[in-house]
Symmetry: C2
Subunit: 234 residues, 2 copies
Amino acid sequence: MQRYTGQKRILVAVDCIIFGFDGWNLKLLLVQRAIEPEKDKFSLMGGFIQPSESPDDAANRVLEYRTGLKNVYMDQFHVFGKPERDPVERTLSIAYYALIDIHQYEKQINDEFHAEWFLLNDLPELIFDHAEMVKLAKKQLMYKAALHPILFQLLPEKFTIPQLQSLYEGVFQTQFDDRNFSRKLLSTGLLVKQPEKDKQSSKKGAFYYKLDQSQYKENFESFLNLVPNPDKFF
Amino acid sequence: MQRYTGQKRILVAVDCIIFGFDGWNLKLLLVQRAIEPEKDKFSLMGGFIQPSESPDDAANRVLEYRTGLKNVYMDQFHVFGKPERDPVERTLSIAYYALIDIHQYEKQINDEFHAEWFLLNDLPELIFDHAEMVKLAKKQLMYKAALHPILFQLLPEKFTIPQLQSLYEGVFQTQFDDRNFSRKLLSTGLLVKQPEKDKQSSKKGAFYYKLDQSQYKENFESFLNLVPNPDKFF
DNA sequence: ACAAAAGTGTTGTTTTTACACCCATGC
DNA sequence: GCATGGGTGTAAAAACAACACTTTTGT
């Protein structure tokens, strides 16, 4: 096989920032690192790109291996590549964030890999530049979520509007007016009301909704503006 | 030096999609490829990442080498990494788009490297997956320019509002209402009116403006909405 | 005087916000 | 019957779009 000569090849990894939502709080899935250096510290889910894989393939493989989940929503958002970012050897990392419904996640795999959910606001110390990755991932998630309805990916098939609102409030770290939020949301035409209510969080109960999949796909690329004064956040 | 064992290292390049604006049209700077395969076809400005460089460093080096320009506005926007994208050898490419004031560009370097400006709507055939890169770069540029005042980077220090408008119209491939556009723009407080007028494009002449640098930095991260109905474009 | 482009004014419409109030239910 | 969220109504404010009209100046 032909090659480009005189060029140095570099190790390339993918790292996944896995966001989950349990109905109240936003969380991140981390693993305890099994090898030196920085053994036992926590790290993002990562792995090296294999010769036959595209970066997207690699990210999906890593995610499936760690969580058992396929067909998860993921966005490639940045390459981290300072020469000294990994002390062992120069490694580039292509970072993805993934959005998963936390209840789909199978607990047993969790134990096998020493994986754990952490509150997004209370993370342990992370290896290398992973804290920086998480910071940028949060920002990118806010950015995209302010304009496109991606946060639905974090919820189960049926969910209530108050649940969705607390998810948005978690992502944007603010409170929204509940009345306006639910009206805006319903006016998007993305939701299909279900006959049942969720009675857990209030006496009156909140109706469940499902996503209208065809509307969702159609509107995905449009701006939505569910978030008031998005300026504030950037 | 310690190394990760059993992992394959990959060649990593950067490619720059260089946008320029000459006062009327949006253009792209391309070079004629000097080596086989696909010799003499046109390609983006690219180069391999060196051991001591971050991807950003590499992109800046490539840009300076090809155009002589430093401190240019650039955004890393995507990694292209299909295993077969470069037929010579597997190569990942980290893609950047750059925005330069076309008049700052020094013509002589142009000739040396067989670099040429092409109208964005009339590009020659490109090597590998470079056409796909350009397509995504255009989309990303629209996306960012709809929300942040980055297009100023394509203009000289002093410019007129009609010039800026035709730049926006080039990027979004539509016509905007001139009255509303100029009013919106002035209301941002980003512009400082200059005493002189540009008389080239009309009898009346249009006042020159400069960017208020401190306002610019402050508002850079806010949403601006100079573009009506941004939904339409995504 | 006229043409051609710059740019200001005006107005009706839509979107957004803020907040009052009613609703359903478990205790 | 009352406390607790859930959800609808309404009205003021702000942003936006459409378009008429004035201004400037080279020919």
